[in-house]
Symmetry: C2
Subunit: 450 residues, 2 copies
């Protein structure tokens, strides 16, 4: 079997970027996807996919294949979180330094751009090919297609087929495959704030809007057409405000006017959208090994995470970047070596970001509403300004740096413990500007040395 | 659809006992299994299934359907653990009181007895029916059979189809199904100590023999034909003694003569068996919910555990017992109610026994070799003798009582903490007979009240 024939499962964002990387390595690349080709049969995309936030790891991976400039026009910078309280008041918490932003981008056009780029480089795309089974000893894939079953000998397989990966399901039936799928008790529903009658954004477009309400929240990200895609996160059942208890227009209006009134005023299609769009679930996937024979899982297929750190796509793109680096180093003659090295080095990082994404849900829906949270962010920003290399806020390490997720996680926990002590001072609100910042850095260095 | 037509997936021990219970409830029961009927095509059973240890929860479930007396002749009582040290010395640790035993039983004949009993009561068995998919909205099962695919409308489905359950796999594809399969880094291999030339047991038949060696161990359970089924538990790879490093006769003989010499002398077929029998993996399965529509998972399908507490089968039998109790109480008109009640009350107990089984691996392969462990057991036995209702050793609660696994777990952790304190006395070996037992009970009652 020819080791330069690569089969990619999944023509989504990660599969398409992987195809670009592998074509640039001079390999034969064929991509299979179960969905129809969106360019030929455009289908309803709304209601299922949270808008994405492209940040440093994503940009770095796009830049390496020369795509940064092509993607920028699709993306809207968001420089911080705009918090909406229950009375319509707002406050702004910057994500990092003044010029640092994450970029709102919606899946459709972005995916198309990447797939076309891959095709231009010579990758072949086959749609309406649903992977039913992979036989690992023979590396044979069975697809179902509108024309019936189709069997393919695939010497090297990369599974970028998402959270419900078919490649992973075949791996799961192998002995000694550790696997965990864990659903949150919360679900989500997509809604829209359209452009105003004057054709303008109805709110500040350069922020990620959050309505944090403790156990639940609403968020909104800007789109190039001047609308916002909103996502409502509620418990499925069991609490006062939950999807199960919103059964009619009255329930819905009562929840929105009570908790999200300023947004509600901007949502003329709320009732229609709410009852038309599906309520979707949120899953975290953890599995290992990612390699079986000459097959490898990447992206959500190996580490689907909850969306609360905005890192799912960025992490998947970084998977491509790192895998490409290993190919540069080890060549394409022994994929088992490349794949083994990839999973060995990468797993600890994806574990860290999955964990952080879970923890950030509580921050987004609850902590951000606390004035102390804002103060905490300010103190950390000050520390970072004074000691740019010694104190980097966790969010900055994850979002605006190359520091591995696992290092960011460990350093973040250290900083968190020190900040907990700083914030425990009952007079912190008054005294924060007089803090001994050098002493805080010293504490951190000491804790690190232990 | 008729709610009195029950389809059971899996004709193993749990599926067959479930069929007996449901026939006795006056229901129509059909059992499907992917394997051939063993009565018609006996197949090689050796090498894969650890001998089982039937204890109170198992016996209670058999007794309720009048089967205790029929099963007893197949079972050999083991009154305690016989520990073999590296120099051939042995010691005996009773499991409970003098008359309390767990019973060694092998799968084959026992399974046949249960299946025949179910058939005699009118249950229908269909072999060579492999469940490929269950469609929950329509409750339609697709089987593959030697004659081709076969579709069945099944109003009520009970999945007793084991650790690799097909029903569970279909459930896993449903949204909000939480699932975890976790493999141990250890594997196992079955071996044999045959009867002596004189046709006798080569060791004491009324004990479970253990050769604890820290990171690995060998165990042996007696069979009615006067042989012992031995199971060798080793890490798959990565340590000095592991399966990966036993590649030829010389490696094997070196491990056995170094670590298990007394057993080795009794194993004339060791080399053949070792290289012929498969090395099997050990998996723990945790999932929830167990119910989807009118389908329910029971036994290993819902909570496969590692074998180190000897409770896998007993717990599965107790599932049948408890489900039957709920049917007595709630009737057979609303299976959703019965199934919901079952999963709600049972999950915490199966979580507890899965956890205990994992923890007991360390006890079996390591702690039992410590003289202090023997002393600890003695002190606990004494406490139990003096205060039979206030202090029941954990092993006794799990193995010889009806106390729910979750209560046993909680009470066991409490007792463990107190025993840790008792054993921390550096002179405990000398002083144990002079302990203030009343004070220990008082400590426990106080801790419990908190």
């Amino acid at each position: 079997m020819k080791k330069n024939e690569i089969t990619i499962l999944g023509a989504g964002l990660i599969g398409s970027l992987m195809a670009i990387y592998l074509k640039r390595q001079g390999l034969d690349v064929t991509v299979y996807d179960k969905r129809p080709d969106k360019r030929k049969t455009p289908y309803f995309e709304g209601g299922r996919s949270i808008n994405m936030a492209l940040s440093h790891r994503g940009w770095k991976s796009l830049e390496q294949v020369g795509l940064k400039d092509k993607v920028l026009p699709l993306a809207i910078p968001m420089f911080g979180r705009k918090i909406h309280d229950e009375h319509g008041g707002t406050s702004f918490i910057p994500y990092g330094k003044k010029e640092q932003a994450i970029y709102s981008i919606s899946r459709g056009k972005f995916n198309q751009l990447l797939a076309e780029e891959a095709e231009n480089l010579g990758a072949k795309f086959n749609f309406e090919h649903k992977c039913e089974e992979v036989n690992f000893p023979s590396q044979e894939i069975t697809f179902s297609t509108p024309e019936g079953p189709f069997k393919l000998q695939a010497p090297v397989i990369v599974g970028a087929d998402g959270a419900y990966s078919a490649l992973r399901l075949s791996m799961q039936k192998q002995v000694r495959f550790n696997y965990k799928q864990e659903y949150l008790t919360h679900g989500y529903k997509e809604l829209t704030i359209p452009a105003t009658a004057a054709g303008e954004f109805a709110m500040d477009p350069n922020a990620l809007h959050i309505w944090p309400r403790g156990k639940f929240m609403l968020i909104a990200l800007p789109n190039p057409d001047k609308s916002f895609t909103c996502t409502l996160f509620l418990p499925f059942e069991g609490t006062k405000v939950c999807f199960e208890k919103i059964t009619d227009e009255r329930d819905l209006k009562s929840v929105f006017s009570n908790y999200f009134d300023d947004a509600y005023q901007l949502m003329p299609d709320l009732v229609d959208e709410f009852f038309r769009n599906p309520t979707s679930a949120l899953v975290n996937v953890d599995c290992y090994p990612w390699v079986q024979g000459e097959s490898l899982l990447i992206g959500d297929a190996s580490h689907a995470m909850v969306p609360f750190y905005g890192q799912g796509m960025n992490c998947g793109f970084e998977d491509c970047y790192i895998l490409n680096g290993l190919i540069d180093k080890l060549g394409t003659n022994s994929w088992d070596l490349v794949f083994e090295k990839f999973q060995k080095t990468r797993k600890r990082d994806t574990d860290a970001i999955c964990q952080l994404a879970m923890e950030n849900f509580i921050e987004m829906r609850d902590s951000v509403a606390d004035p102390k949270f804002l103060l905490r962010k300010k103190i950390e920003a000050k520390l970072h300004e004074l000691y740019p290399n010694d104190w980097i806020p966790l969010y900055t390490m994850v979002t605006f740096s190359d520091i591995s997720y696992s290092e960011a996680y460990a350093q973040g926990k250290l900083q968190e413990a020190i900040m907990d002590r700083v914030m425990a001072d009952p007079l912190i609100t008054e005294n924060w500007n007089k803090l001994d910042y050098e002493e805080i850095i010293f504490q951190m260095e000491t804790a690190k040395a232990v």
